[in-house]
Amino acid sequence: MRRDRSTAIVSLAAIGITFLVLWLLHSFGGYYIERIVIGIGINLILVISLNLANGFTGLFSLGHIGFMAIGAYASAILTLPLSLKSTNLPDLPVFLSKIQMPFLPAVLVGGLIAMVVALLIGLSLMRLTGPYISVATMGFLVIVQVVLTNWDSMTRGARTFAGVPEYTNVWNVWIWAILVLYIVWRIKFSSFGRKMMAARDNEIAARSLGINVMASRLLAFCISAFFTGVAGALWAHFITAFSPKSFYFSQTFSVVTMLVVGGLGSLSGSVVGVMLITILSEILRNAERGFSIGPLVIPEVYGASQVIMAVLFVLFIVFRPRGLFGDAELDVRRFFKKEKEVSG
């Protein structure tokens, strides 16, 4: 009982501190910092839900950004002001051209559509393993890309989908992020998470214990797709103008890198991975514009930040092939225990 209560207190304190920091950044950080904070929040949702699908089940999907795209487009079509719909999307089906939804329901619908698609393709894809699932999900990403680029009446094809209301802010993003973190955390430490990880570690043994491997994979895939769709919806109402190529390989690499740096299967790792990569790439992005240290003048070299990040990543994999945390979690209680031992 005491353990439970201490966990709850620590979690609530962490959430409180998070929002305090957010409030400080929001009040004093300015628009640039705010954009970074929102970006981190969205990436947290993406990486944590990717972790649910890829880390817990071991089926490495490279197609999740496709769900992000589905969530983004679906929600944006729903929230687009009616006046813009008639000019930008004149060929929209009637039932869509007449509605304009508020933000939250549009986000939920975006997530749900992503989930339904995940269910449909998951029924067959979840039978694959190893590199084949990566290839097949990458194929899914290409298919989504091609469909979005050519479904002119719904997406404006390759043209920019603009005019999406800017609904996303620090607060709604971070409420979602913490919600997703909490839910996935609970799944990890329940029978559902154990089934996923058991099937990941040894499928045959898992089946011999009565675990329905397919069902638990599908569950992970669908929940993950839902949250990825939500992240896409939040992103759409943050950036407000995008086209299909916003959701392709470079976005995939960036999210997957954050996941692997943190550690497949570790949610604490995902949080640290997102923060680390975001902040590091911001530093490098600003540094590549050239700077001077005393008499030493470094000229601008665009592209240097990507080159350095790539080298750092390879070095990182050499020394920590399983990421910062593997699939372990940061245990706050252990921190407290140590302190008690010292003080007592």
């Binding site: 439970d4 839910i183 609970r186 799944i187 430490f189 329940s190 029978s191 559902f192 154990r194 089934k195 990880m197 058991a198 570690d201 040894n202 045959i204 043994a205 898992a206 089946r207 011999s208 214990l209 009565g210 675990i211 329905n212 491997v213 569950l219 299967g265 593997g326 699939d327």
Partner: protein, 263 residues
Amino acid sequence: MPVDMSQSSHVLLEVKNLSKSFRGLMALQNYNVQLTEGEILGIIGPNGAGKSTVFNLLTGHLNLTKGSIVFRNIDITHAAPEEIAGLGIGRTFQNIRLFGSMSCIGNVIAAMQMKERQSLLGAILNLSHFREQEKRFAMQARTLLALFNLQEHADSPALSLSYGDQRRLEIVRAVALKPRLLLLDEPTAGMNPHESAEVINLIKRIHDEYHLTIIIIEHNMPLVMKVCSRLQVLNYGEIIAEGKPENVRNDPRVIESYLGRVG
């Protein structure tokens, strides 16, 4: 689906003419067995005689070529492994198959939770029912681990255990499924005599405490003689002898084909 209710109720498993061929090669031919509840059956035979194939067919990990399997009066001939596990057949593997990155207790709970469903909502909302269930799982798992002297490893990853400990953990995990029938595939392989003796005692103990019916595949003859009430000898996929251990031991065909060579 229920079949042939005329069978006496204490028959747990009825296997008839079980056969399996790999690419035309017969790995197992017309294997028959009838197990009554509480029995401990030993299967012995040289490498490649088809012993593990019997287990893999019984648990649905391989599709059989011919024959029928009835367990607890239910035809499981074509059932999937997870259904068979649900009906109460637990097993270990010749080459250990643990959930390597999970803790030992996690391995055990993964088996335990088979019998008790959780609701996703309950888990996410961390409802009191869910919390109590998790607590009960942990307690029972620790008790089981303690039975096999693994309690101090409860929170370490399964892969970090020694070979012998891994074998024992796999048995604990199979027992945690609360099966009616337990299939043990070479439970003492790779162990020293002292460890083996310990495992033999444990097998006897769980047999008594949990009212289990057990089939053991084993090379270790003293073990087999000590715990089994009945023996089957397989060679080239066929049963060449069957009976009480002391009778089988003296069967000339067995001595010739198997015991003779082992010494």
